[in-house]
């Protein structure tokens, strides 16, 4: 997301989202629906749990030999006549694409949905260079026309009503369109079909890349991934280097759980396996194929505390179940990747300081870990992240002081007893029916949105002693 939206603090962005009546309703409906679809699809799939363990093991094992798998992938793609680029940073990945556009005279690029290109803010860079980027996933197309950003990893436009989409299409495409998803989808089909046929360049991400065969794998429902990799004369795939997997056998394990986790489908409508450029006997397909392998902060987590986040398949399941995401939606997070995993990915890409507020946007309930197809321990990493914010002195000094004091107190029984007695006295004017509903000074931040249970008349150990127990 552009830096401008980060001008407002997280709390203010979240408040805005909470006041947005339509967003609240849309989020509730969408996330509840996705949760139900996912649950149903795993219910009649008894091997699901074992496959998730397998998938997790494959991701870990691949990371343990990441260099070899990447070399194998690159060698295979080059053998097929494709080009492999190595981008240490997002800026470098952008430059590679811009240079290619310049060299090949590209004027328009069609894109299928890709979080990696969102991550490097490619569209802005292309526009700046005079290349027209056209998003072709319906949801992405809508938000591109509206000059907005995706609010969900797999359903980018869930925050918009059909009425808003109809108005947007009418204004941007000329005409008057009914607020009917069927009609609007047809409008987009006609509009984008022309773009597919005209574009010089197709840009995709990659859900996986199979090292042993040099295959880039794209999973879509609309078929735009197929269009983008079949019609333009050049295809560029941008992927985070951690997306590599060893073999076709491994790929099947991931395919069995990815769509189930994301949308509750057994498989998405289209799984497209692309091996380099068009072969001589083929009627269509790009003359040129480029794969950009991107680091952009990932390597330093191989031995880092966020290693497990490198397993992520970008299915979006953890967003749907997160009580925070369900309330505030994707935009309030303010970065490319929203939701619980998004906090960790943002820390990975932009450093711990970029999530000093977001690190606390979690109740640590663990629902994300439960639904993750590769069982990423997101809560553990969030706790560790919070700890680092403290030890690295990134958190505000007031917060560190307060928690430091609490720590000292909890380590000393006598201080704790004293603290409890003081609190018992101090809370007198504020406690009603065992609850504190409004507190003065900065304590009021807590009670502004929820009650605080009052400190009990007697501590547990006091009552224990009164019972005459040892």
């Amino acid at each position: 997301m552009s830096e401008s939206s980060l001008g407002t603090p997280f709390a203010a962005r979240a408040r805005g989202a909470l006041k947005d009546v339509y967003l609240q309703e849309a989020l509730g409906i969408a996330t509840t629906k996705f949760i139900g679809l996912r649950r149903e699809s795993f219910e009649d799939f008894p091997q699901g749990d074992a496959l998730r363990d397998r998938a997790r093991a494959i991701k870990e094992a691949t990371l343990q030999q990441l260099d070899r798998h990447l070399e194998r992938l690159a060698d295979n793609i080059e053998r097929l006549g494709g080009h492999v680029h190595w981008a240490a940073t997002g800026a470098e990945a952008r430059d590679i694409i811009l240079r290619l556009c310049r060299d090949k005279g590209v004027r328009m690029a069609v894109k299928s949905k890709s979080m990696a290109t969102e991550e490097i803010e490619l569209n802005e860079a292309l526009e700046h260079a005079g290349v027209k980027p056209v998003e072709t996933d319906l949801g992405e197309y809508i938000i591109q026309l509206a000059h907005e950003k995706p609010s969900h990893i797999i359903a980018p436009a869930i925050h918009k009503t059909k009425g808003q989409v109809a108005d947007l299409f009418s204004k941007e495409l000329g005409g008057h369109f009914e607020a009917d998803p069927e009609v609007l989808t047809k409008v987009a089909r006609v509009e984008l079909r022309q773009k597919f046929l005209e574009a010089d360049l197709g840009i995709t991400g990659a859900n996986f890349a199979v090292a042993e065969t040099g295959t880039v794998v794209l999973v879509t429902n609309e078929g735009n991934g197929r269009m983008v990799t079949s019609l333009p004369r050049i295809h560029v795939a941008v992927m985070g280097m951690e997306k590599v997997i060893p073999s076709m056998t491994d790929l099947m394990v991931f395919l069995a759980i990815l769509a189930r986790s994301a949308t509750g489908q057994k498989l998405s409508s289209y799984t497209t396996l692309v091996r380099g450029p068009r072969q001589p006997g083929e009627m269509e397909g790009p003359e040129e194929f480029h794969l950009i392998l991107m680091d952009n902060g990932r390597t330093r987590q191989i031995a880092g505390t966020l290693r497990e986040a490198l397993y992520c398949l970008r299915c979006g399941a953890c967003l749907n179940v997160c009580p925070v995401y369900r309330q505030i939606g994707g935009h309030a997070y303010g970065h490319t990747y929203p939701g619980p995993i998004g906090i960790l990915l943002t820390a990975m890409l932009k450093g711990d300081a970029s999530v000093k507020e977001l690190a606390h946007a979690s109740s640590l309930c663990g629902a994300c870990k439960d639904v993750c197809p590769v069982r990423i321990d997101i809560p553990r990493m969030l706790v560790e992240l919070r700890e680092r914010l403290d030890t690295e002195k990134i958190a505000p000094w007031t917060e560190r002081l307060l928690f430091g004091m609490a720590r000292q107190m909890m380590m000393r029984p006598s201080w704790f007893r004293l603290g409890a007695s003081v609190a018992r006295l101090a809370q007198k004017p504020f406690a009603r029916n065992g609850r504190l509903r409004a507190l003065p000074l900065f304590f009021g931040k807590w009670t502004a949105t929820r009650d605080l249970p009052a400190v009990a008349e007697k501590t547990f150990s006091e009552r224990w002693r009164e019972l005459g127990r040892p």
Binding site: A61, T185, V253, L255
Partner: protein, 243 residues
């Protein structure tokens, strides 16, 4: 510009600093993929009827329309019927060799415009012409290399005489297959793909494999399921009983 060597060097340096989170291995791959594929084929000689029943069930669940044809002979008439129902005239097809039947010879006389791919490398200018024909076609007819029961999925390998867009650009896609193409599980697909890639220059003349599970779909506007957003709105599977 980061070089391959520098990029990998960074990775190796970090890899050396950790032993990983836990002991883990990737999936065991078939040691002799061709033989493993042969074992699957033999298993399916017995089990294809169950796989077909499951395929039909799953394919219909994703809004596919399932047909049976007694023989390849009967396929053109069936496709003619599907086209007439849709008032479609323009039919695009894989090459007669790849499909197993020459639609042009049979339907050309009935008022349909049939464009079939062929099995020689495209000549200069032919690709542009094919694209126009593909973009204008209303029905696309392909074979299927595998039909997967577990998920109702058609798997198509592109190549000579088997253009990628035949199953993509027309609003209706019809795939024709028989018992030898039936598989039960994704695991079996994995074995077949391992075998296919054991010597790809001998087995694959194209660069793309598509798993197709139902029509093109989206739920991007208010989660309302809508079909045919970019690819086909309509998908048919024709099972040929005897071939």
């Amino acid at each position: 510009m980061t070089t391959r060597a520098a990029f990998l060097e960074d990775i190796r340096r970090e890899m050396a600093r950790t032993r990983g989170l836990f002991e883990a291995s990737t999936s065991p791959r078939p040691a002799a993929p061709q033989e493993a594929a042969e074992v699957v084929r033999r298993q399916m000689l017995e089990r294809w009827p169950q796989a077909l029943e499951r395929f039909r069930e799953e394919f219909e669940r994703v809004a596919g329309v399932f047909h049976r044809a007694p023989s390849l002979e009967a396929v053109p008439a069936l496709i003619g019927e599907i086209a007439r129902e849709r008032q479609a005239k323009r039919i695009l097809s894989w090459s007669p060799e790849a499909l197993g039947v020459d639609l042009g010879a049979r339907l050309g006389g009935e008022g349909f415009v049939v464009t079939s791919a062929h099995d020689v490398d495209p000549a200069e200018g032919e690709r542009a012409r094919h694209r126009e024909e593909a973009a204008a076609a209303e029905i696309g007819v392909t074979g299927a290399d595998w039909a997967l029961g577990e998920t109702g999925t058609l798997i198509l390998v592109s190549g000579r005489g088997r253009p990628r867009s035949t199953s993509l650009l027309p609003a209706t896609h019809v795939a024709v297959f028989g018992a030898p193409q039936l598989l039960e599980s994704l695991e079996q697909v994995g074995i077949m793909l391992e075998a296919l890639h054991a010597d790809p220059s001998a087995t694959m003349s194209g660069a793309v494999i598509n798993f197709i599970t139902g029509p093109s779909r989206t739920a991007d506007i208010e989660l309302t399921l809508t079909r045919g957003v970019h690819g086909p709105k309509d998908i048919h599977a024709v099972f040929v009983e005897a071939r």
